[in-house]
Amino acid sequence: MAGELVLLDFWPSPFGMRSRIALAEKGIPYEYREEDLRNKSDLLLQMNPVHKKIPVLIHNGKPVCESVIQVQYIDEVWHDKAPLIPSDPYQRAVARFWVDFIDKKIYELGSKIWKTKGEEQANAKKEFIECLKLLEGELGDKTYFGGESLGYVDVALVPFYSWFYAYEKCGDFSIEAECPKMIAWVKRCMQKESVAKSLPDQEKVYEFILQLKKVFGSE
């Protein structure tokens, strides 16, 4: 069932991290291949001709593209180990809703925080915190969004933690001050090896962002 598994990825990508965490949670061995996004490999272009983006999960030579689709695929194929997505249809719908929310809001707002200045940045920061607060509300008193164990929403959201330091430095604010429950949840997730090993160091991500800012000309 394991077969040959390759993940085409880029180290700071929060989307790639989702698949890394899912595979690690389930203890599934795979080959990690780092892509240079300025010089994409023939394999990447062949496996994801439509979007030409990472991450791409290649299972026995067949590509699965898009991180949320990959996590669902991993959960369905290796369903007996550490299930991430609830089995009850209503709970699944709730989890899918929040993953969709994260996808629509967190990355874009975070990007605005490091890319922009002035009023646009201030608005992005405000909305970003509002979104995190909504997520805190959904978490409630649970250990994880998935309950007692890591779930679909946890896997979708926690990768963005590796970018929090960069957002805070660029936006001159403290996420922990605004959303302490969120940071408490992050710390619980980071105690899990599957998460800790899948997320890059926050300072490294910040350095990477600084390089990007030079390219985008906003420094």
């Binding site: 299972h59 898009e66 699944r92």
Partner: protein
């Protein structure tokens, strides 16, 4: 069985339509509530979808499910007969890929091509055509995206195959034409001719003036911005 199924929707919304078509394909009876989304949204809608405040909302035995794609997956998992997603995980992931592509790239760009200003229209139209070409490749000689019968990709593609085609008529564009995209055009005809689809689509003569008004509004808002 005593199940209570309700859909809060809007008659002209392609997203709302997806939820209704899915329930009809499963033969599930439901109560439809039309929301005045451009005027006054009901308290119930705001209660059931506090985050986005949008239609469609599916209410099943008092529990709300929102976002059309989430609703489609829920319907598939709850009423397991007449499946519209493949069983095999890999085929399922392929279907989900095309659904995401339609929802995030194809449909929004085609809509944009309809109302964008003259100076931007050519660029957006070219992009839209590229997406249509890619979408057509997903058909790969099949009658429907789902194979011999309508699948979830077809349900989602109704936004392109029907709603966008109506929009194009109004704008005098003809992007989804038989000579440019013969397979995709044929698919949209076959899809719209399915009895279950035909009887549930919002009628063209009602939709045309509505979309015309909507486009005018978008153009107005865009000119102001």
């Amino acid at each position: 069985m005593g199940e209570e199924v309700k859909v809060f929707g809007y008659w002209a919304s392609p997203y709302s339509y997806r939820a209704e078509l899915a329930l009809k394909l499963k033969g599930v009876s439901y109560e439809y509530i039309n929301e005045d989304i451009f005027g006054n949204k009901s308290d119930l809608l705001l209660k059931y979808n506090p985050v986005h405040k949008k239609v469609p909302v599916l209410l099943h035995n008092g529990k709300p499910i929102v976002e059309s794609l989430v609703i489609l997956e829920y319907i598939e998992e709850t009423w397991k007969h007449n499946p519209y997603l493949p069983q095999d995980p890999y085929d399922k992931s392929t279907a989900r890929f095309w659904i995401k592509f339609i929802d995030e790239k194809c449909f929004p760009t085609l809509w944009l091509a309809a109302w964008s200003a003259e100076n931007e229209r050519e660029k957006v139209t070219n992009e839209a055509c590229e997406y249509l070409k890619t979408l057509e490749s997903a058909l790969n000689g099949k009658k429907f995206f789902g194979g011999e019968t309508i699948g979830m990709v077809d349900i989602v593609a109704s936004s392109v195959g029907y709603f966008i085609r109506v929009t194009q008529e109004i704008m005098g564009q003809n992007l989804l034409s038989a000579d440019k995209f013969p397979q995709l055009f044929q698919w949209s005809e076959d899809f719209a001719n399915c009895s279950i689809v035909k009887e549930s689509l919002p009628p063209r003569d009602k939709l045309l003036p509505f979309v015309k008004g909507l486009i005018a509004k978008y153009q107005q808002d865009n000119a102001k911005a």
